[in-house]
């Protein structure tokens, strides 16, 4: 994705990423974590959220509303590239922590689908079946794979 994005850090494990969102609400620390959840085919889960300044833990129930949605999304998309550079082009699964959050992810994917599809295959999951992602369809989760 050729969008503006934040600088982000990782270490040699390339599974944890941190960056700061910057906007009217100030600097908000964000984290992205990849965890292997299936073999054959290999699938990794992508967990993403704000790092709670009190607990130091990631939580995606926080709605930070820092008016930088696309920059944050582009940053997360860029971490997928770094992750795939290290581990290969495997499936990456993402879903929201609740239906509303999943719907929000879906709207963001729909809005940027043309751009995302330049680099990634995108699928929507409904129940036990995956489908090529289409706008205006509600999914339970999403799979992406770098081309």
């Amino acid at each position: 994705m050729n969008f503006e994005h934040y600088s982000y850090i990782t270490d040699n494990d390339f599974k944890d990423y941190l960056f700061f969102s910057s906007g009217p609400k100030g600097r908000i620390k964000k984290g992205v974590v990849y965890t292997r959840i299936r073999d054959k085919p290999i699938v990794y889960n992508l967990a993403f959220g704000d790092v709670d300044p009190v607990t130091g833990e990631i939580d995606d129930n926080i709605i930070s509303n820092n008016l930088d949605r696309d920059i944050v999304l582009a940053t997360v998309a860029n971490t997928i590239h770094d992750f795939c550079n290290r581990y290969g082009n495997h499936y990456i699964f993402a879903t929201g922590s609740n239906p509303a959050r999943t719907r929000l992810y879906q709207m963001n994917i729909s809005r940027l689908l043309d751009e995302i599809c330049i680099d990634f295959e995108v699928y929507g999951v409904i129940g036990d079946q995956e489908y090529k992602f289409q706008r205006n369809v509600n999914y339970d989760g999403f799979l992406v794979k770098r081309k």
């Binding site: 494990d13 085919p41 967990a47 971490t79 499936y91 699964f93 999951v125 036990d128």
Partner: protein, 54 residues
Amino acid sequence: MPEVKKSTAKGGGPGKAIVVEKVDSHANDPFVVKKVARAKEMVSKLKFSDSLMK
């Protein structure tokens, strides 16, 4: 957050990460653990058509 800039990710894609010595892992955060458990359950049910198994 560490500010030590070591290098950028190497590989075939356009990754741009700043690689530092150590990033605190959030893999065991309760939210992440819960989410991974749910994701495992959802993904374990997926059939993955032949074309997607490549």
